[in-house]
C-alpha cells in the first residue's frame, strides 16, 4: 500500500511540475519568442490549402508573430466550437465566423473591436460592398474574409437546344422553365434553402427581408415569395433537398439553370461531368432591380487574447487585405477580392478575361447587398428557413407562411 501511495505521490508531483512548466512556456512577447496567434477556421479542400500557404507566407514575412491556423470542420462547426469555447474560456485569438453572429458575441462579452489595432487607412481599403457588415454599434468587429455572391449558372447545351437566351429577369426564368417543362426538362435548380433567393428578391422590391421590423405580409414580399413558390408549384423548379446544393441536380444535365453561390465555382469546375458545358451570369433582376445577396464568412477577434496576440491578429488581417494576398485568395478559391484596389486592378481584370466564369460574381458585386447586423438574426433566420421549407414541400402558401413568420419575427428581432 505504501508503495502505491508513494507512486501516486510521485506521479502527482510529476504532473504538477509538468503543468507548471507548461504554464511558464505559455506564449509571451519576449524579445526572442514569437507571439502565437491561434486562428480557428472552417475551410477545407483547396481553400484550406491556400489558406495554409498564406499563413505560412505571413509567418515567414516577419519574426514577431506566429499564426497557427486550425480547421474545425465546416463553417457551422466553427460556430459551434466558438459557442462552447466562449463558455469554457478556451477561445483562440481569432476565428472565421459570420458577421451576423457579432450581436450575440458582443452580448456575451467575448469579442473585441478591431479598430484599435487596424488603421483607418487599412479598414478603408475594404470594398464598400462589404463595409456595412464590418460594423456594429459604431465599432468594427468583423473583417470580411471568404465572401461570395449569388449568381446564375446555366447549361449552355440545353439553352441552345431549347433556343433560350440567358435570362435577365425572374420572369424570363419562369417562362424558360415552362418551355423546358414541355420538353421534359426542368427550368431551375435551387439549393436546399431558398433563403438567399428570397432575400435577393425582397431586397429588389425595396422591402428587405431582414430588418428590425420586417414587413412580411406586404404585397412586395408576398409577390417576391410567389416568384419562387409559383415555379416550385408549376414543377419548373426544384430544391436540392438532402443533396444540400442544387449543383448536383444541375449536373445531371436536365436542368437549364442553377441559382447558387459564386463560392461553388471552383467545386463545380472540378466536378463537371464530361460533355456538359455551362456558363455563369449575374442573378436575374426583379421589378427592374438587380440586388444579389452577398454571403460568406468574416474574421473576428476575441477579448481573451492578450494585447500582443491582438496586435498579431491585426497584422495578419492586414496581410490578408494586401492586394497580392486577397487576389491570390480570390483566384484560388472563387471567393471575391476584398479591397477596391484589388477588384479594379489590372491583374484581376486580366484574370477575369482569362476566366470568364468568374466574371458574373465580380460584375454583380456593385449591386450586391448584405443583411444588416441584427440582434436575434440567427433565430429569425431559422424561422425564415422553416417557412421556406414548408413552402417548397407544399405544406403552406406564401400568404399563410408569411403571416406566421410575421408573428415569429416580433419575438425574434422586433422586440429585441
Amino acid at each position: 500500500m505504501k508503495r502505491f501511495f508513494r507512486l501516486c505521490l510521485s506521479l502527482g508531483a510529476l504532473l504538477l511540475i509538468g503543468t507548471l512548466s507548461a504554464c511558464a512556456s505559455q506564449p509571451s512577447s519576449t524579445a526572442h519568442q514569437r507571439t502565437t496567434v491561434t486562428f480557428w477556421h472552417g475551410t477545407s479542400g483547396a481553400s484550406q490549402q491556400t489558406l495554409n500557404q498564406m499563413i505560412k507566407d505571413f509567418n515567414n514575412s516577419q519574426s514577431t508573430y506566429k499564426v497557427v491556423g486550425s480547421s474545425q470542420g465546416d463553417f457551422a462547426n466553427v460556430q459551434q466550437k466558438i459557442t462552447a469555447a466562449a463558455k469554457s474560456h478556451t477561445l483562440p485569438t481569432m476565428a472565421q465566423t459570420t458577421y451576423t453572429n457579432v450581436p450575440n458575441y458582443v452580448r456575451g462579452g467575448f469579442v473585441t473591436p478591431i479598430d484599435p489595432y487596424l488603421s483607418k487607412q487599412t479598414l478603408g481599403k475594404i470594398d464598400p460592398s462589404f463595409q456595412s457588415a464590418t460594423r456594429y454599434q459604431g465599432k468594427t468587429y468583423a473583417l470580411p474574409f471568404s465572401k461570395s455572391i449569388r449568381v446564375l449558372y446555366y447549361n449552355r447545351d440545353l439553352l441552345k437546344k431549347t433556343n433560350t437566351k440567358v435570362p435577365q429577369t425572374w420572369s424570363d426564368v419562369a417562362k424558360a422553365g415552362n418551355r423546358a417543362k414541355a420538353q421534359g426538362l426542368t427550368g431551375m435548380a435551387f439549393d436546399q434553402s431558398l433563403s438567399s433567393e428570397l432575400d435577393s428578391l425582397a431586397q429588389a422590391t425595396g422591402t428587405p427581408l431582414y430588418q428590425h421590423h420586417p414587413k412580411l405580409t406586404s404585397p412586395e414580399i408576398t409577390g417576391a415569395t410567389h416568384v419562387l413558390y409559383d415555379m416550385l408549384q408549376a414543377k419548373t423548379a426544384t430544391t436540392a433537398g438532402t443533396d444540400g446544393f442544387g449543383n448536383v441536380t444541375f449536373f445531371k444535365g436536365k436542368t437549364l439553370f442553377y441559382s447558387g453561390s459564386s463560392a461553388a465555382l471552383s467545386i463545380m469546375q472540378a466536378s463537371t461531368p464530361k460533355g456538359l458545358h455551362w456558363g455563369t451570369a449575374p442573378q436575374p433582376s426583379y421589378q427592374g432591380k438587380h440586388r444579389p445577396a452577398i454571403a460568406g464568412n468574416d474574421l473576428v477577434l476575441f477579448r481573451s487574447a492578450s494585447k500582443a496576440q491582438r496586435k498579431g491578429a491585426a497584422a495578419f488581417m492586414q496581410f490578408l487585405l494586401a492586394k497580392k494576398q486577397t487576389l491570390k485568395w480570390a483566384k484560388a478559391t472563387g471567393y471575391l477580392p476584398l479591397t477596391t484596389t484589388a477588384l479594379k486592378s489590372q491583374n484581376y481584370q486580366e484574370y477575369l478575361k482569362q476566366h470568364p466564369l468568374a466574371k458574373a460574381a465580380a460584375q454583380s458585386l456593385p449591386d450586391g447587398f448584405l443583411d444588416p447586423t441584427l440582434v436575434g438574426y440567427t433565430q429569425y433566420q431559422a424561422d425564415v428557413n422553416q417557412m421556406l421549407d414548408q413552402l417548397s414541400s407544399g405544406q403552406t402558401t406564401p400568404e399563410k407562411g408569411l403571416a406566421k413568420l410575421q408573428q415569429q419575427a416580433k419575438t425574434d428581432v422586433s422586440n429585441q
Binding site: G108, G109, G241, T242, T378, A382, Q386, D389, S393
Partner: protein, 303 residues
Amino acid sequence: MLMLNAKPTVKSTLKALLYLAPFLIITGTFTVWPLIHAFLMSTYTHYNYYTNKVSALGWGNFSTLWHDPNFHLACHNTFLLVVIVMPATVALSLLIALGLNRSRRVAGFFRAIYFLPFVTSTVAVGLVWNWLFRLDGGLVNHFLGLFGVKAIDWLNDPHYALAALMVVCVWQGLGVNIILFLAGLNNINQRYEVIATIDGANPWQRFTNVTWPLLMPITVLIVVNTSITNFKVFDQVYALFQGSAGPDNADLTLMYYLYQKFYMENQFTVAAASGVVLFLVVGVLTMLTVAYYQHRQHQLGGD
C-alpha cells in the same frame, strides 16, 4: 480477505473513496454536474449564457415549449419513433437471434454482419443510407420497382422521411440486441427444452412456455435500452438529412430540437428545458416498463 472482514473505519472508508475517486470524479464532472446544471438552466428566464449572469428565474422556458408547435412536432415524431422502432427492433433481433442460435455453423459470420452497424460510424451509415434511399438510382426504389411500386423520394417527401429514419434506426439497433438475445438464449438450460419436447410440446409451445419466459430479464434490458436509444435519436437524422431535420421538419426529434435550439438558435435555456422534459419522460417510462415486467415476472412465478 482481511479487508473484507475488517470493520469500516474512517481510514478504510477514505481508502475506499480513494479507489472510487476516478469513477466518482469522472461521473460527477461529466454526468451529474451537467444534469444539475441543465435543471438549473431550464429555470433561468433571463440569462446570459456566456457570462453566466442570471437575471430572472421562472417557468417561462417550459411555457415556451408548451406553446411551440415545433416542440409538439418533435414530441410527436419521437414517440412515433419509439412506439414503432422499439418493438420492431426487439422482435426482429429476437427472430434473428433464434435463427442464429439454431444454425451455429453460419452464426459467427452472420453475427459479425449484424454487429457491423453498431460499430460503424453513424455518419458513414447515414451517407450509405442516403444513397440507398435516393430517388434516382437508389437501391430501395430499384427493389420496390421490381414489384411495380412507383419510385418514392424517401428523403425529400415529408410523408416518407420519418419512415426512412425508422428503417435506419431499426437496422442500426439490431446488432447489439441480437448479441444480447444470443447471450440470453445461451443462458437457458437446454434441459428445460428437452423436457418440454418429451412432454410433447411443439416448437411454438416450447417457445411461448419455455424460451420466452426465461428470456424475460434480458428482454426487459433490451426493451428499456432500445427505448432510451430511440428517445435520443440525433446523429442518424443529422447524417441522413445533411444537417437538417428532414423536409419540413418531418424528422425533427426531441434531441434534434434541443440541438437546434442550442446551437442554431442560441436559445440555451429553452434547449435545457427540452432536455429536462426528455430526461423526465425517459425516466418515467423506464420505471414504468421495469415495474410492469417485474409484475409479469412475479405472475409467472419468477423471483
